[in-house]
């Protein structure tokens, strides 16, 4: 497997140096692996801290900036960051108004953020946490680690980020973040596995004529393997799974997300199919985002995330945002 890297050990640090060079309006602490918006801490504003394994770019470092995250902690590839990073991030962005940790539901992320929250509270920083768990492919949560956090993370970070920028207090920002999560569902499909730098080869075998339904974002196989389907058939499977679970009554935000190696030509075509299926099911679409946002290294495939919104959530979604990975209204 050919990769544009030096050595696997420095992949994350090298990417952070590059992020710093490209975005001077971010403070990038390469050694301690914390990315902070330049003007933090912003007086009176709740700090938003997220993080998780690297390999999902632009999530999360690419979503740091006005209107979205205050700071992000990248871990090793597909590995949760450590509590020290989260504590540093919290200290860097806390203006006294408290900090919200946005945590995807993976055992490692949950444990490390829990430890970091304890440490932060010891230092007098008020911390609230919201858990993102939107993946409908995980059906028997009783016998698993629970639903994974995937595409909805972007919706939570953007909308809670706008709420925090408006100066809402911690409890309110936390409540909005929870509301976004509760109204969001995702489903992902892999056409090819990804290759982690540490392993240097695909994490699982997927024959050319087959695809995986119900994948997560860590190169783990999905729940089911099928013969290759058309874009329209995949859209039907994905949207069906999401709508069945969410049962939206309000208009939805749509995220058609690429896993890293699927070109926009295919993603836009897939988006057309997603819209066809949504229309057939009578689901009204409020806003659409198409692109590679919550990726899985070089995995080919896509995920669909829907978020049911009311007027307030839609207003916060439309609010200006200025980050490396998401930018509008500024």
């Amino acid at each position: 497997m050919k990769m544009l890297i030096n050595v696997p050990e420095t992949v994350v640090a090298d990417a952070l140096r590059g992020l710093a060079a490209a975005h001077p309006d971010l403070t990038v602490d390469v050694e301690n692996r914390v990315i902070v918006r330049r003007d933090a801490p912003v007086a009176g504003k709740v700090g938003l801290v997220s993080g998780g394994g690297s390999g999902h770019e632009p999530l999360h470092g690419g979503f740091v900036g006005p209107g979205m995250l205050s700071a992000a902690c990248p871990g090793e590839v597909f590995t949760s960051p450590v509590p020290d990073q989260m504590l540093r991030a919290a200290a860097a962005v806390d203006s006294g108004a408290g900090v919200l940790f946005i945590v995807k539901n993976y055992t490692g992320d949950v444990l490390n953020f829990d430890m970091a929250a304890e440490l932060a509270e010891d230092e007098g920083i008020q911390v609230a946490k919201v858990l993102v768990n939107d993946d409908v492919a995980v059906t028997d949560s009783l016998y698993t680690a629970g639903r994974r956090g995937t595409g909805a993370t972007l919706f939570v970070e953007k909308i809670a980020g706008a709420a925090a920028d408006e100066g809402m207090p911690l409890e309110r920002v936390e409540a909005i973040a929870r509301q976004v999560n509760e109204n969001s569902r995702s489903f992902g499909v892999a056409l090819s596995p990804c290759s982690t730098p540490a392993k240097g080869s695909p994490t699982f075998d997927l024959p050319p004529g087959e695809l995986e339904l119900g994948i997560g974002i860590h190169g783990e196989p999905g729940r089911e393997r099928r013969a290759m389907m058309t874009s329209g058939e995949i859209a039907e499977a994905a949207v069906e799974a999401v709508v069945e679970d969410l049962k939206p009554r309000n208009p939805v935000l749509v995220l058609v997300n690429g896993m890293g190696a699927t070109p926009l030509l295919e993603l836009y075509g897939f988006n057309a199919e997603v819209h066809r299926v949504l229309a057939a099911r009578g689901v009204a679409v409020a806003r659409v985002l198409v692109g590679n946002y919550v990726t899985s290294l070089d995995m080919a495939g896509a995920s669909v995330t829907l978020c049911q919104v009311d007027e307030e959530l839609l207003r916060l979604w439309d609010a200006p945002v200025k980050t490396p990975g998401l930018r509008w209204g500024v």
Partner: protein, 199 residues
């Protein structure tokens, strides 16, 4: 009686075996996890040996507490907090004693394993490190060698199980037929204990 030297040796030989076995751990983690268990633990135990060289705690409890803290600060993922908690809580249970008996270690390790079960919410049979650690602690009353055998057997016995915790749990039935990487690395830790004791 076991002194601080014994515990430093335990950590050092474990670090060496993690170094040797890192690729195998990552290979085990690749069909059912995300292919990083070996490299993550390797990073952690490298930090443990470096920290023990820099500051040498004079008590068994001190060695394990320091090692646990290093793992939490460097490993990440679920392994960092779980292994870190295992060693920290075992170390805390040993207290300030300059030397401890094998019985005291067995008791402390049981407290450590209990803490891991509470933190991770896993029980025996969930296809996790617990499946190697619980039998090892049960056998520790006999000898370190017996604990090593029990841990290794516990790790192998995870193969037919369906994962209920951690990332492998998302595969459901497809996780059956693969030995759990966490139970495998836990067996390395127990084997390190036997090796440090010369058994």
């Amino acid at each position: 009686m076991l002194d601080a030297d014994f515990f430093r040796r335990w950590m050092t030989v474990t670090a060496e075996s993690v170094d040797r076995e890192a690729e195998r751990l990552t290979a085990l983690d690749s069909p059912i996890g995300d292919a990083d268990h070996g490299s993550n633990l390797h990073r952690g135990f490298t930090a443990v040996t470096a920290a023990l060289e820099k500051e040498a705690p004079g008590t068994p409890g001190g060695v394990l507490t320091l090692a646990g803290r290093q793992l939490i600060s460097t490993v990440g993922g679920a392994s960092g907090p779980l292994y870190g908690t295992l060693l920290r809580r075992t170390g805390k249970a040993l207290g300030d004693a300059a030397e401890v008996s094998a019985e005291q270690l067995a008791e402390a390790l049981r407290a450590g394993v209990d803490a891991v079960m509470t933190l991770g919410g896993a029980a025996p049979g969930d296809k996790t490190m617990i499946d190697a650690l619980v039998p090892a602690v049960d056998a520790l009353g006999d000898s370190f060698a017996a604990a090593r055998t029990a841990a290794e057997e516990g790790a192998v016995a995870t193969t037919p199980l369906q994962a209920r915790k951690g990332r492998a749990s998302y595969l459901g039935e497809r996780s059956i037929g693969h030995q759990d990487p966490g139970a495998t690395s836990a067996a390395l830790l127990v084997a390190g204990l036997a090796e440090a004791a010369g058994e």
